[in-house]
Symmetry: C2
Subunit: 342 residues, 2 copies
Amino acid sequence: MGRKIKTMEEFASLSGISRPTLSKFFNDAQSVKKSTRLKIEQAIEKYDYRPNFYAMNQNRRKTKNIGLVVPNLTDPFFAGIARKLEELIVLSGYNPLLLSSHGGPEQEIANLDSLRSIKPAGVLLAPLGRASNVQKLKDFSALVPTVLFDANVEGVGEAFFGSDNHQSIGLMVDYLARTGEPPKFFEMKDPINPNAYKRRAAYVSAMEKLGLEPELLQVKGDGWNFEEIGFASGRQIIQDSKYRGATILCSNDRLAIGLLSAAYESGLRVGHSAECDLRVAGHDDHPFSRYTCPSLTTIAQDYDAIGERSVSEMLKIIDGANGIAERSEELFEGRLVMRTSA
Amino acid sequence: MGRKIKTMEEFASLSGISRPTLSKFFNDAQSVKKSTRLKIEQAIEKYDYRPNFYAMNQNRRKTKNIGLVVPNLTDPFFAGIARKLEELIVLSGYNPLLLSSHGGPEQEIANLDSLRSIKPAGVLLAPLGRASNVQKLKDFSALVPTVLFDANVEGVGEAFFGSDNHQSIGLMVDYLARTGEPPKFFEMKDPINPNAYKRRAAYVSAMEKLGLEPELLQVKGDGWNFEEIGFASGRQIIQDSKYRGATILCSNDRLAIGLLSAAYESGLRVGHSAECDLRVAGHDDHPFSRYTCPSLTTIAQDYDAIGERSVSEMLKIIDGANGIAERSEELFEGRLVMRTSA
DNA sequence: TCTATAGATTTACACGCGTAAAAAAATTAT
DNA sequence: ATAATTTTTTTACGCGTGTAAATCTATAGA
């Protein structure tokens, strides 16, 4: 149809709709009468016009952008959650902006910084945890509506949604204790993730509740290369014959994947059947835990629920009368996934 | 200090630098004299000013944004490549915008569409391949400088950089044939990825070159859930006793991961030592291939090189006099990673 | 039919920065 | 020191849209 339309003015005269009405429409299609909405949509189709992104956002009170920051996209767990959240954001008529902190607190701050210049309507943040620069997170969340997910940081953001580690670890400990040797807890000595501390505490309390002696296998290791840590430390632990016949509950699946690899290498048989030398369980239902050898018994986090709740809370805050409601928190239950490793 | 600076005008009067000079600086810090650059940087530090992103990009000839589209962020291989590319883009003073197509051609087009409205200086695209809407890719690349990586689509983009499947598969076939039973090739019947076709052809030609009979194990399966496909099909294949003692080269590591899982389940011993029932090799050096049971012998793609070349070519095109140079292509050699599975 | 009202139009200005051109100042070369 | 060159300043306009206020128009309820 002739040449390309560049401005809304032009589009207005061609479509027979006034520019302010068009502006309203592009801001929120539902805010105009149905008949005009249809007329506009037809015209858009016909002339293939779309407003200039930059001019559009320059003077908007709130943009339609929502930031999405995860600690590490290389971790399939976060890649999965991010995908889910992106989908929900798009469905709500917003524009997701995905950023990964690559495991580093500087990158996390840099991400928030670059988001700030984009003036997002809100930000969904899964913080690094221990490594995070808490003060800067607070400063940020004071400026833009922020909802935390996966990992909590006290005093940051208007809401937090995550997994109920107490429930899920309790469930797993219970299952393991009922079906064989009670579990020892395999974890990093100084975890970066706040969930790890909760899981440790949950393990101890679950064991005590059952009248059993908790035993922590705390291994050294820095960074995000959990599989390697699980592998290297697991190798050492496994050599100790006192762990023959033991049950090992890992703080997360990635550690378990490393541990399973070490066990395989040592020729140990892992599984829940009688002739096995070891039982291993994990937590998170990592996409690959189905294909480990043997397949990994674990806890599936309900991240559909976490995602949906996070996004809906975000929208509520954005639309909201900015009534300084108190910080809301909700934890979702995990589900036991019984496979063959325990 | 005082209150927050909002406009460049204000920042100009406070810093004692004229606004056009500031504008130049923010566009390219190297374009102003060193002494003024330092003065500006100090003032930025002091007043914590940063230009309005939207106003800034509205009238710029070229923005500083570079789009980065990968087929599937859930695949750790692409997550890794994306991370590398992001890093290189930032280092070059540009702003990466990461989008995943989630395995779907509609999403791929939607991604390019939303990138178009951001008027990026260029786009680095790893296309879905067979599933891609080629015409729309062409239309897009006619409007925006586009560099393809990982997978090639003829006639799209100004350059392509990827792996030399011919070399890498040849290398692997050679290795496997020298060290035991020559390999059969395990792959999907109708792969989505163009590399898969090249690998198939490379396998056949490598076998023939050695005077050996190629044998293709083509299994059904759609989508991106390669592990599941490898697992389910692998299970069937393995039951057939004629594959006892065989060597199986998988078209990619994710298929191999599934196959290894199936082999484990069936009690088959996989590995290169004499007492094993099966040898399995992969391709890509997936982050987890180190922790499979047994660890996976595979080919490591040189994606540092692919990434660097892609970004540097992109920059050349962006800066370039737009001289309609011919489409450049370069393939990088893979490296044999010997582990225990073959 | 009249009126109340939601929705559309007209008019006009604002936003914050890019950029061009000419003049002035600072630096470098001769 | 002077001339040539580079860099900065001054001045001024444009970009495409948001938004406000007043006015007009369509729709619905009585």
